[in-house]
């Protein structure tokens, strides 16, 4: 894995994106504030408080909400791509077949893939969180924003652990689809569709009728929201937050999904005849 470019590019991207977004938010909000002060644009209805509040998101004491949230959102997408690619390319290259022919076990293969994905997710969230902290301090210094009490390490760690945890079911899903389809592309597509579409559908259904929450709360996106919001104030308000499931139940639901996806992948891998192409 360390010899491939993809993991390094993804780590580089998350670092770059963190710095870029922090900078862009400051630049854009600061420009608006300046424009309001100069009278170039009219002041918003509630004054500039909202803009100043947004600017405050950059401060190091808000990394747990904003910075880690940023890493979590982008990271889910990137890790879906990575998980599907990490497994799917073995079939595309035919290396799965080669490994088995040299005595590797199918169980060992899947365990090795799952463990390496887990390790990568850990490295990714650590690097991403450190990048967010670095970006927060750097942009705060440039913008002259008070660092306040600084980074609350315990809070940021809790947020990072939760972010890392919510990566797992999506990674397991992408892995399972890649194993079933023997294709990285199918794993990426299915993972991203579920990631985006399920969340939209769930939010829409709950907005229409809160009773639907009983159903959609067993899905991935609502469980992810519940875990993310547990014990912390969210960076982005959610009008359906009151109907989210209990965080503990949500965490268990996510763990069960992980197990289901891995068992499905394992079952398929065990029972498949491996012919040319994997």
């Amino acid at each position: 894995m360390v010899r491939r470019w993809m993991p390094w590019i993804m780590l580089g991207l998350i670092v770059l994106t963190a710095f870029l977004l922090y900078f862009l938010i400051w630049a854009s909000v600061n420009a608006q504030l300046q424009a309001v002060k100069n009278g170039t644009i009219p002041a918003p209805a509630g004054g500039t408080a909202q803009l100043e509040q947004t600017l405050r998101m950059i401060a190091p004491d808000r990394v747990a909400q904003f910075g880690v949230g940023l890493v979590s959102g982008l990271g889910s997408v990137m890790l879906i791509v990575f998980a599907a690619s990490h497994v799917g390319t073995e079939f595309g290259w035919g290396t799965f077949r080669t490994l088995l022919a040299h005595g590797a076990s199918r169980t060992g293969f899947l365990v090795a893939k799952a463990v390496s994905l887990l390790l990568y997710a850990f490295v990714f969230i650590v690097v991403g969180t450190l990048a967010a902290i670095g970006a927060s301090y750097a942009v705060s210094a440039v913008a002259g924003i008070s660092v306040g009490s600084g980074v609350d390490v315990a809070e940021v760690t809790r947020a990072a652990v939760k972010a890392g945890y919510i990566f797992l079911p999506y990674m397991a899903l992408a892995l399972a689809i890649a194993v079933w389809s023997k294709s990285a592309g199918a794993g990426i597509a299915a993972g991203l569709v579920v990631y985006f579409a399920e969340g939209i559908v769930a939010t829409l259904l709950v907005s229409l009728n809160k009773d639907y929450a009983e159903i959609v709360n067993w899905g991935l996106s609502r469980s992810v929201s519940a875990v993310t919001r547990a014990g912390s104030s969210a960076a982005v308000p959610d009008p359906t937050a009151s109907t989210l499931p209990d965080p503990t139940r949500a965490a268990i639901v996510l763990a069960v999904y992980c197990v289901i996806f891995l068992v499905l992948a394992y079952w398929r891998l065990r029972s498949r005849d491996v012919t040319v192409g994997g």
Partner: protein, 310 residues
């Protein structure tokens, strides 16, 4: 054939839906011998190898390597096998050396120490550090063969090892295969290059539609095809009639005359009989069936209107 049996299959069957790819195959490979697995495309050679390596689950029957059932004790069984599959696949972003190192780590034992000597043995020492994706087809084949020897195996399985190799490379591979047998390993060689099989194999198994249709040494197999005369003559129908009158049972019409299966000592008799009937052959050439002749004969597609040999 006194060496230890390193591979034995018993009634191996594989069905893919309604298609039977391998049908009750029994084969045996012993230490020190090279066994050729021959068959036309789709005969079931790669499926058989897949079942031997535990890549494909047999519908019935079993495969044993060094006495270990591949389905029950796969990892143990494959510890004694080095296999190169028809399509040689390694990680494209790793060098040849790193790919071998990866396989060696998987194999354990003293495999790591064999990486560089094997690269040298297969003529890849200079390009060992180059990425696999930059390798030519021939170099990929060589790397595949090198990977089979990392575990010092008792059984080496090679599926079309000469694919993509130039004549000199093919010759080197033939020599290598003989060396492997000389090192007291059993070698199962699947190939469609009949001259290659003819030159290196001690025994040959011919399969068609998943069934074993002939087996034995090259001499035994070609003797089954028999010696024959290639007779260049006009009026093939009348000539065939005359020769049948001499008790010749197997006659095939060719564009220039007849192929007549008969004892090599009967050349003069056939010539005399034809001449007596006013049919003068422009040539009567004694031929011995080559492996290719026998292979073509054994594996030729069955025509629904085909009648028994005359």
């Amino acid at each position: 054939m006194t060496g230890e049996v390193v591979l034995r299959t018993n009634g191996l069957v594989k069905r893919f839906g309604s298609i039977t790819a391998v049908n009750g195959l029994d084969l045996e490979v012993r230490r020190g011998e090279v066994v050729g697995l021959l068959g036309p495309n789709g005969a079931g050679k790669s499926t058989t190898i897949g079942m031997v390596l535990g890549l494909i689950a047999p519908t019935a029957g079993s495969a044993e390597v060094l006495g270990r059932d591949v389905r029950v004790r796969r990892e143990e069984a494959l510890a004694g096998v080095g296999a190169m599959l028809e399509v040689t696949s390694f990680y494209p972003y790793l060098s040849g050396r790193d790919n071998l190192t990866g396989v060696a780590l998987l194999r354990g034992g003293g495999a790591l120490a064999r990486v560089d000597p094997l690269l040298a043995r297969l003529g890849l020492a200079q390009r060992g550090g180059s990425k696999f994706r930059t390798y030519s087809l021939g170099m990929r084949q060589r790397l595949g063969i090198a990977s089979t020897l990392l575990s010092d195996p008792a059984l080496v399985i090679l599926d079309e090892p000469a694919n993509g190799l130039d004549p000199a490379g093919q010759r080197e591979i033939r020599e290598l295969i003989r060396e492997l047998a000389g090192e007291n390993r059993g070698v199962l060689l699947a190939s469609h290059l009949l001259h290659e099989v003819e030159q290196v194999c001690d025994r040959v198994l011919v399969i068609k539609k998943g069934k074993l249709i002939a087996s034995g040494t090259i001499a035994e197999i070609t003797r089954g095809g028999g010696s024959y005369f290639e007779i260049v003559v006009g009026d093939q129908t009348r000539a065939a009639q005359i020769l049948r009158g001499l008790g010749v049972k197997e006659i095939r019409e060719t564009p220039t005359g007849l192929d007549v299966v008969a004892d090599p000592a009967r050349g003069a008799e056939l010539n005399r009989a034809l001449a007596s009937a006013g049919l003068y052959a422009s040539a009567i050439v004694p031929r011995a069936s080559s492996l290719e002749d026998v292979f073509m004969e054994l594996t030729e597609p069955e025509s629904p209107s085909a009648s028994p040999a005359s």
